[in-house]
Amino acid sequence: METCNAEMKNQVEKMFCDLRSKSEGIVASSSIYKNASDRIMKLVSSRIAAESEGYIVDMYTLLTERIKQEAFFQDPNHLNAFYRLNLREKLNDKYHFEVDSLDAFQKGVDYKEINRLYASLGAAAGTLAVGEILKFAMSSVVNIPFTVIVAGAATVAFSSYFKIVPSRNKIAFKKAVDAFLSDLEHDILNWLADVECFFDGQIKTLYSQN
């Protein structure tokens, strides 16, 4: 399920549009495959890591504004109970992408380490498909940095491209990048829907208490 909030959808679309055109530029300007894939991966993961923090803020604001419209929350005691749910903190704990453990990134991209992390994630999720792993990582308790997932996904996506197209032509490469970005976009929207779901679930406890 993707989020149906139009405003958020628009934001995500905008970001991916930008990522697509920048990746295209990289594919066009680079003649060395490893350089290009490395650059794209860094571009995508750093951007998504930054934006996802913004999305949590947006989602919290959006959802909070929505419930404040409800009659039930016009009662200051109910509103107070809402604030005391600490939803901002809970969202943060659940979806905040650890920055500290980004060792693999701080010292430049360590492919081996990323592949290892990604593979272990894949084993837990039962699949190596990018979308499935993302969904699994986002909705469960694993505390694997988001950037690592994106980078791992990118490596997997590109290495599968390598298997299919040994001649390394740019058109096929661009296609792999596009497919990868589309998957990712879809997954981000899913994730936002998940955030919304979690939020609503928490609010429900308030109605039932009264």
């Binding site: 860094k42 949590i56 200051p76 107070n80 604030y83 903190e89 905040h96 010292k107």
Partner: protein, 681 residues
């Protein structure tokens, strides 16, 4: 105005102890988080060590200066010795030396004898290699290549790079021969090169216990320093660049280049130019040289250059200071004996004899004369004035916190007094008040939560909507504008690009710090009554943009920076061929694009950090708000429920009023102290 850091620090810590005395008597404050963070900060201030970095060309008198400054002869100083690794000296209970070798091995020496021996052995120069820049060769080749084969072109590059360091003007081929010889003989024992020495010394002079002082191998004629030295330079609280007051051309490159170097550029703290060996010169010569230096280097700080105020250029004589230290603890008779010996051995410098003559055998006058020659008093004054800003600021901030705590405690006491009075007079009314206040607190809590929400969304929204993203964009655009005009044709354009980029990284760090402070300030302003600013930890951007990274970028882009060029062969039947050629222009643009991508990554990292910070701050504030409301409510209920007789209440009131009375004078003392310190910064 308070100018002695040590005195200010003592006063501030006293102030803190007084504060603790009050705080310990106040009910319900013991587990206040601000109190805990105050304690941590006090600890930091207590242990704070000022890092003073000493740099300068070989034989400019660095080690001698340090010994004179510390008042103990720790470092070997001799024309025949040279400091070949970074030496860090700081206070410790025992005299201990800790050395690190190029292969990571470590060694420890204890006690005077063994340490002196180690230092002399490590710093002794073989006669054959006296004329070549051994330290540079060690740093740039031996330690880097270890047991690996050193490519011929690297050796050639090095020889070219140290041309100007041929201080004894050997014929070029002889100079080169000795360097090659040195590399050949030294490389097999590369692991015995010492790269870092740490010394702890039990200074008697308490003033020296708060200092960390770094002796470094000489910078070369081009102002370049080794990698380890560069790291120290970047983080030092103050840098002193030493050079003899005469004997070297004033406009000699080394200091200029040093000022322009990347590591110095990144250090925003004070820089001093220390002119050594002043005692040997006439007052006239010193004045003239000094004016000359001021004219050339005493420029205002600009964006691209460290400013050096007149007062930051200081003529000194370390030898004179060493004599001062030596004679200070001798009796007049002993001094007379020493002077006789020095004179007989022809070791006494003319200035020493002159001072002795003027003093006419009187110890105090002699010491005064020596101090006048050494001019070391000015060193401390200037350090306090220019080098201690960060420390003074920390003290002031700490006092500010204490003042806020006093205000908080006083308000709390007044409230308790009011409530007890009410209870004694009209218990029913107190019960009513508790209910009223509870409702009011709930409404305030809701309002405050909304305020926090608004601040969070204003800053941290996704896309280009929040202040964070918008400001980051501005910071980036300013950078793009700045590099737009660099022409990509020459090698220097890359240097220019690199330098602007390093600065840009600093700007991002600054941007991150600034915005965090702004968020906290805004929250504090909106929520000042209830919250305390101490509970949020700042994040520091740690971008990975080192010289290594730039080096990697350049290497990988060199591969891509080729263009195809045509050429013809044959005389009668001309034939056109194509060959790849390296294009500087293309290379520049590729490197530039890579750096831009890197910059964008750093920008994204800053945005992510900041958004995450805003959220953590929002969470911290809402928690703090709630906790404060809770405390207030509990306090009220507690007083309401307490079963106390009228006498007991009178007793409590007396105690509370006493406490309140204690606060005022203490608060005033802290305020005055803060005013004095603020006058400094």
């Amino acid at each position: 105005m308070i100018t002695s850091y040590k005195k200010a620090k003592e006063d501030v810590l006293n102030c803190y102890n007084e504060f603790l005395q009050v705080a310990n008597q106040v009910h319900g404050i013991k587990d206040d988080r601000s109190l805990q963070s105050l304690a941590t900060q006090a600890e930091k201030i207590k242990e704070d060590k000022f890092c003073l970095m000493i740099a300068g060309e070989a034989k400019s008198g660095k080690s001698t200066f340090i010994n004179a400054y510390l008042g103990v002869e720790i470092l070997p100083m001799d024309v025949r010795q040279c400091t070949s690794s970074v030496v860090e000296i700081r206070y410790g209970k025992e005299f201990i030396l800790h050395a690190t070798f190029a292969d990571g091995r470590e060694q420890e020496c204890r006690g005077n004898e063994s340490i002196k021996k180690f230092l002399v052995a490590n710093a002794a120069l073989d006669d054959e290699y006296r004329d070549i820049p051994v330290t540079t060769i060690n740093n740039e080749i031996i330690v880097k290549y270890k047991a690996k084969k050193i490519p011929e072109e690297i050796i050639r590059d090095l020889i070219k790079g140290v041309e100007r360091e041929n201080i004894h003007k050997l014929p070029q081929d002889e100079y080169e021969k000795r360097i090659r010889m040195y590399i050949k003989t030294k490389q097999p024992s590369w692991m015995n090169v010492v790269v870092k020495i740490d010394i702890q010394y039990p200074f008697e002079d308490k003033e020296m216990r708060g200092v960390r002082i770094i002796d470094s191998p000489g910078v070369n004629a081009a102002g370049k320093v080794g990698d380890i030295t560069a790291t120290y330079i970047e983080s030092a609280d103050a840098i002193m660049f030493l050079r003899p007051i005469t004997g070297v051309a004033i406009e000699a490159e080394s200091f200029k280049e040093f000022l322009e170097s990347k590591s110095v550029d990144r250090n925003k703290n004070a820089m001093f130019l220390i002119l050594t060996r002043a005692a040997a010169e006439s007052a006239e010569t010193i004045d003239r040289a000094y004016e000359e230096f001021v004219k050339i280097f005493g420029a205002q700080k600009t964006d691209s250059r460290h400013g050096i105020a007149k007062e930051q250029i200081i003529p000194v004589d370390s030898k004179a200071e060493m004599y001062y230290n030596l004679f200070l603890n001798l009796s007049t008779e002993e001094i007379k004996g020493q002077m006789k010996i020095l004179n007989a051995e022809k070791k006494a410098e003319p200035f020493l004899m002159a001072a002795w003559f003027v003093a006419a055998g009187e110890k105090d006058a002699f010491l005064r004369e020596l101090k006048r020659y050494s001019n070391f008093e000015v060193i401390d004054q200037s350090l306090n004035r220019f080098g201690r800003k960060a420390q003074f600021l920390a003290l002031s901030e700490f006092l500010g916190r204490i003042l806020r705590m006093y205000a908080k405690i006083a308000a709390n006491l007044r409230e308790q007094i009011g409530n007890y009075k009410l209870k004694a007079k009209n218990p029913r009314k107190l019960a009513e008040k508790v209910d009223e206040t509870s409702a009011a607190l709930r409404d305030i809590e809701n309002k405050m939560n909304e305020t926090v929400d608004n601040i969070a969304v204003k800053y941290a929204r996704s896309g280009n909507n929040g202040i964070i993203a918008k400001t980051a964009e501005e910071v980036m655009n300013a950078y793009l504008n700045e590099i737009k005009n660099i022409k990509g044709e020459s090698d220097s354009s890359l240097d220019e690009l690199e330098k602007i980029s390093y600065r840009q990284v600093d700007k991002f760090i600054e941007f991150e710090n600034k915005l965090q402070k702004k968020v906290v300030a805004e929250c504090n302003e909106a929520l000042v009554a209830l919250s305390d600013r101490n509970s949020i930890e700042f994040i520091t951007l740690e971008p990975d943009f080192s010289e290594d990274i730039v080096g990697e970028i350049k290497t990988s882009m060199r591969e891509e920076a080729t263009e195809t060029e045509s050429y013809t062969t044959g005389l009668t039947f001309k034939e056109t061929h194509y060959r790849p050629v390296f294009s500087q222009h293309k290379f520049y643009h590729l490197v530039k694009d890579s750096i831009l991508e890197r910059m964008d990554e750093i920008k994204q990292q800053a945005i992510r950090d900041l958004r995450s910070f805003v959220q953590l701050a929002a969470v911290a504030y809402t928690k703090e708000l709630r906790r404060n409301a809770e405390v207030k409510r509990e306090e009220l209920t507690r007083i309401k429920k307490e079963k106390r007789s009228a006498d007991e209440i009178a007793e409590i009131l007396k105690k509370l009023n006493e406490l309140l009375g204690m606060i005022n004078p203490k608060e005033n003392f802290a305020k005055e102290l803060k005013g004095g310190i603020d006058g400094n910064v």
